[in-house]
Structure formats: structure tokens, C-alpha cells
Symmetry: C2
Subunit: 200 residues, 2 copies
DNA sequence: ACCTGAACACCGTTCAAGT
DNA sequence: ACCTGAACACCGTTCAAGT
């Protein structure tokens, strides 16, 4: 028996009105422009032209959406850091270039930076592998400066400093005035000195 | 003419059923035990034995309550750091003792630590003066190690590192294994080396 | 399969009415 | 003056009903 495909009982499948990519992109825009508190399922739905419940066809819940935003952001950051690292063969110069690039990313996408490096309780943040890939150039240069023995400790010292500095800068926690560009510079040099000196 | 104080039109003022101190204490407990998302006006009210609307007699809104919790926490931290600093005259040993005390505080009160050093957008966090008082011992030792010229930059490098390390440790961002105690130790030594070396 | 309105539980907050 | 119930606006999320 043939399938019933008479023209009046059959109808074209309506094209989807949105997509996961659209939703994540809208979320990233909203996060940066309005802050996390106003990154609302309703607001995202408005922006992609659909009602809020429809988002749950593409995303399990708001937390997963936040994680997807963190994931997309960390990939962008990783690509940028990789490009910067390739352009600078000298280890000390590369440490500086990577730190500066990280700071530029933090200034350009402060909310995304915060989401990636300080995921709010309840969310998981970006996938661990993605964060590892993005951090690889920094870990590598730390190893070059401090030696393979101390690579991990050295990398953690650098990332902790950078993360802390940028988090405090974005959060307005440096309240004693002074030149933050110079303070960042001082920090880079101090760490380069410290990692280079053996310490044994 | 005498005031009307006939016994049947006059009544004892009921004693207050709670206080600002009670509310802040309940908030601190809840924050640490249940996390910021469940630090709810309703939950605080339940704990102090009143209805949620009554809290607004003592506190402007939830954000102010969060700020009061941050303020109380930073004062505790400041007192602890001051005591540690007084007990250790050697600058390098004092840097280590302060860093360790800060880490102990972060481990003992992780949610409060996070609230103080990464106040969520919308809140103001603790009063700037209170944070300055709490940070004073660290700024002072940084100045002793790096010299008065570089005191502020050096202090920012140390606090950025400590803040970043502990934020990442509490947030579970160190995912490559290894000994975190040793990594923290390495960081302290690296910073002490870096601040001591002139860099000019 | 995707989309929607309606509904639910749960927030923070306000306010008139009680004592 | 403090406390309360009731109400409001606004969340995230579920689900039956539509196409």
C-alpha cells in the first residue's frame, strides 16, 4: 500500500525559526551588553524571534546556555592566543605578548572573560579540554622559562596572577589609583624574573 | 495636662523579634552552607524567625544584605591578617605567613572569600576602606620587599596572584592534577624572589 | 519536529492593615 | 515601631495542544 501523500494532507516542513548557533550568539551579545542578570531566557527568546519555551528544544536549561557561551568564548580566546604565540619565538617576549593578548580579550569581552574564568556556582563553565587548549601556549612558555621540572607550578603562578589581576581590574578592585598598565607591566616582568631564577 | 497612660490604653512595646546582627549572621551561615543562590530573603527570614517582608525594616534589599555579609567577612579576615603580621618580623617570612593565612581563610569560608574578592555584578561588596585595612599588611610587606618606589605595583602583583590562585582553587579551575600546596608554595617563593630582585 | 499559550513554583519587593 | 498577609512583577521550566 502506498504512503498517503495526497497534496492536501501533506504539508512542507516549516523551516526552523532559530538555531543553537543563533541562540548562543544572542546570549553572548546579551551577556556583554546587559550583564548576566539580564541574560534571561525571555530576553534570548525575544532576540532570536521565538517564545521562551521553544529555547528548551535546543538547550537543556539556562545553565547549559551559559556553559555554551563560555565554551564559544574560550575557543575564540584560544585561537587568539595561539596566533600570538606563533608570532613570537622569544620566550620572554612571548610571555609578555600572551599576557597582553589575554588582557585585551578581557577588556573587549569582560563579561565573557569573567564567565570563562569564574564560572558562577551551578554552571560548569567551558569544557575542560577547551580551556586546556586555550591555556596551552601560556603553559608552554612558562615551561620554557622555568624548566620542565617546574613547568606546571610556573604556569599556575602565571595564570593565577593574570586571572587575578584581570578579575580585579574588571571588578574595580584596584582602588588605590596609580597606573594599571604599568602595574600589569611590572607583574609580567616580575614573573619573568621569578620563573627564570632557579629558586633551588 | 497629663499624658494619657491609663493601664488599659497603654501596652508594653513588644521586644524586637530579630536584629540586623542576627540577619547578617544568618545570611553568612546560609551563604556558606547553601551557596549564594539559596541565600534567599525567605531563607534568611525563616532562620531568624520572621516573615520575609520584615527583613526590609533592617535592610534595604538583598544586595545590601550581601554587602553587609562581605563587610563582616572582610573585617574578620583583616583581624586575622593583622595578628599574623604582628607575629612575624622577617619580611619574607611574613609574606609567606600572610599568604598562608589568606588561603586558610579562603578554605574555611570559600563563599565569603568569593563574595569579598569577586562581588557579583549589582553588589558593591565590602566598604573600600575595610578592604584597604584588611589588605594593609600585605601591601606593607610588598613594599618592604620591593622598595617604596615599587610598593604599589608589587602589592598588586602579590594580591592579584593570591586572589587568582585561590579563586581558581576554590572554583576547581586547576584541572591538571599535581600538588596544589606545592604550587602555592612555589608561587610564594617566586613572588618573593621577583619582588626582591630590583628589576631596574 | 518545532512552536506556542497556559500554568506552576519560586523569587524580590511593596503596602495596607494589624499590634 | 515592628510585623504580617496579600499582592505584584518577574523569573525558569513543564506540558498539552497546535502546525
Amino acid at each position: 500500500m502506498m504512503a498517503n501523500v495526497n497534496s492536501y494532507t501533506w504539508s512542507m516542513p516549516t523551516p526552523d525559526r532559530t538555531s543553537l548557533a543563533d541562540i548562543v550568539a544572542a546570549g553572548r551579545d546579551l551577556l556583554e551588553s546587559d550583564g548576566p542578570a539580564r541574560l534571561t531566557m525571555q530576553a534570548v527568546a525575544d532576540r532570536v524571534g521565538v517564545r521562551a519555551p521553544s529555547l528548551y528544544k535546543r538547550v537543556r536549561n539556562r545553565e547549559e546556555l551559559m556553559d555554551l557561551i563560555a565554551e564559544a568564548s574560550v575557543r575564540d580566546l584560544g585561537a587568539r592566543l595561539r596566533a600570538v604565540a606563533e608570532a613570537e619565538p622569544d620566550a620572554r617576549g612571548r610571555l609578555r605578548a600572551l599576557a597582553v593578548a589575554l588582557r585585551e580579550f578581557a577588556h573587549a569581552h569582560p563579561a565573557a572573560f569573567h564567565l570563562v574564568f569564574t564560572p558562577p556556582p551551578g554552571t560548569s563553565g567551558s569544557r575542560p579540554e577547551s580551556l586546556a587548549v586555550a591555556s596551552a601556549p601560556l603553559i608552554e612558555v612558562a615551561g620554557e622559562l622555568a624548566g620542565p621540572e617546574r613547568a606546571l607550578d610556573a604556569a599556575r603562578t602565571v595564570t593565577a596572577w593574570a586571572n587575578g589581576f584581570l578579575g580585579m581590574e574588571l571588578g574595580g578592585s584596584f582602588r588605590l589609583g596609580g597606573d594599571l598598565d604599568a602595574a600589569f607591566d611590572y607583574g609580567i616582568d616580575a614573573l619573568a624574573r621569578a620563573l627564570t631564577a632557579s629558586g633551588d
